[in-house]
Symmetry: C2
């Protein structure tokens, strides 16, 4: 299974170089932020952003601030999701969760701060035409607010809200799908791509978000604790509705296969209509999301 | 004591008209957000933004999206500050705090979501030159991240961090001063004001933030529960360092008088150097912040 590790390493280096304050009094907060931010992982969202730049025939490194900002936002969402009032998780990527190390107050603030610093990073360091940049940042905000990530997390917390297969799909579209899609779409906004190209890539990215979630639900049942970096089966323990609980393991696997095929077709369609770049890395990420074991 | 109530009512109407999602499943989240957002108050920050537009000779209504976004951010900070892991407060503006009504999980998400929607609001609804808009939104992010509001809240939570009079001033400059200053400075960015004008107004707004905090600390000791909408004396109960604990009540009152005079002088200087507008409302807010009883 090939993953664009070269892009992942570029992201990793960039994230490691980020500092949020030079105020020694606030160092403790920065430490808590960096603890979760630099916990490794495949960096799927920022790598998607870099790969999208390549697919459009641009230099991947040029969108690093935007890509990193998306990873900051993702990290903030994990810290808040793990809080005692939410999922109350003790482990994340094989290490104690943020609030287990730094306490609940600092963990809440570390999440809040990563979110603020994500906007600051992209607004102060991302090059590009101002109008395109504004559209990209607006997309980030919309993908993470009431009509996106936080709205989806609310559906997850509020058991009454989203029920049945449609409700489940809706929940995940908001909770994880919108930010994954934004990782692709923001780059198209930033680069001032045409509307048809943007629509085509958005269709691809939307399917990628669905695929990601189906596989996530399957892995929670079939994965080993070591692979996942946390105890498997946590969805069932939390009484969470998942693709496996709705469709059974075999049903979920069939859905994943269909979704993967669909995503590849949509990517081929999007890439055919846009620029001089190569969608190779986007293809690799799509295949990786389907076949990953953690 | 005159307050620009006409501007406050404009803000109030605009806030009341805001909707964050038309998704019926997410209504519960929107309700929690609106519960805290529409709890009244003097709306000092957004009124400051509108008054700054007037001082620059512009139409106040034109900066309503930016002004409202700042109030969304302020509301988010109050919800998170009140959480059990932070100040664990039960009352705010005479009503139960957000987490007392909606539970801790929803309160965390309501805060997160108000922050996201603040950025979405200003990025999608605020008119203006893209470059000026980008600078204004970057200032919002910087005023609320590690070098601003959340950094200051960390200093407040982490008792070791800021000690002594200088530490206290630093804490408040980050925790409340930066966002109050941003309420003025963002409007100068948005309107493309000259650098000298921006510097002059920033000096005024910085002093206004200091004045605000000194008076806040005095009121926590001298105010009535009914005026404050929460039990007074909560700073002392939380063992918080305040201007009163550092300088005594008389000392703090003298500091407030000096700070008020300073703020008025700086405002006069800033207004003399900029445009055709009138600083009347900014003067009124400055006097109000000094003489308020709640």
């Amino acid at each position: 299974m090939t993953y664009p590790d070269e892009l992942r390493l570029e992201v990793e280096r960039y994230l490691a170089g980020l500092r949020f304050t030079d105020d020694p009094l606030v160092e403790g907060l920065e430490e808590a932020m960096r603890y979760s931010l630099l916990a490794g992982g495949k960096r799927i969202r920022p790598v998607l952003a870099l790969a999208t730049a390549r697919a459009l025939g641009r230099d991947a490194a040029q969108v690093l601030p935007l890509a990193a900002a998306i990873e900051l936002i993702h990290t903030y969402s994990l810290i808040h999701d793990d809080l005692p009032a939410m999922d109350d998780d003790d482990l994340r990527r094989g290490r104690p969760t943020n609030h287990r190390v730094y306490g609940e107050a600092v963990a809440i603030l570390a999440g809040d701060c990563l979110y603020a610093e994500a906007f600051r990073l992209v607004l102060t360091h991302q090059q590009g035409d101002p109008a395109g940049l504004l559209r990209a940042v607006a997309e980030l905000a919309s993908a993470t607010g009431a009509t996106g990530m936080v709205g989806g997390q609310f559906l997850d917390v509020d058991g009454r809200a989203a029920t049945g297969p449609d409700g489940l799909r809706h929940l995940h579209e908001l909770k994880t799908g919108r930010l994954i899609a934004a990782s692709v779409v923001c780059v198209l906004f930033l680069e001032g791509a045409s509307d048809p190209a943007t629509v085509a890539y958005r269709r691809f990215a939307g399917e990628l978000g669905v695929l990601f979630q189906i596989v996530d639900d399957i892995l929670d049942v079939t994965g080993t604790d070591a692979d996942l970096g946390k105890p498997h089966g946590s969805d069932e323990r939390h009484g969470r509705r998942t693709y496996v609980s709705e469709y059974g393991l075999d049903g979920a696997r069939k859905l994943a296969a269909t979704s993967h095929r669909q995503a590849r077709e949509r990517l081929a369609h999007a890439a055919a209509g846009s620029g001089t770049g190569s969608p190779t890395e986007l293809e690799q990420i799509t295949d990786f999301i389907y076949t990953r074991t953690s």
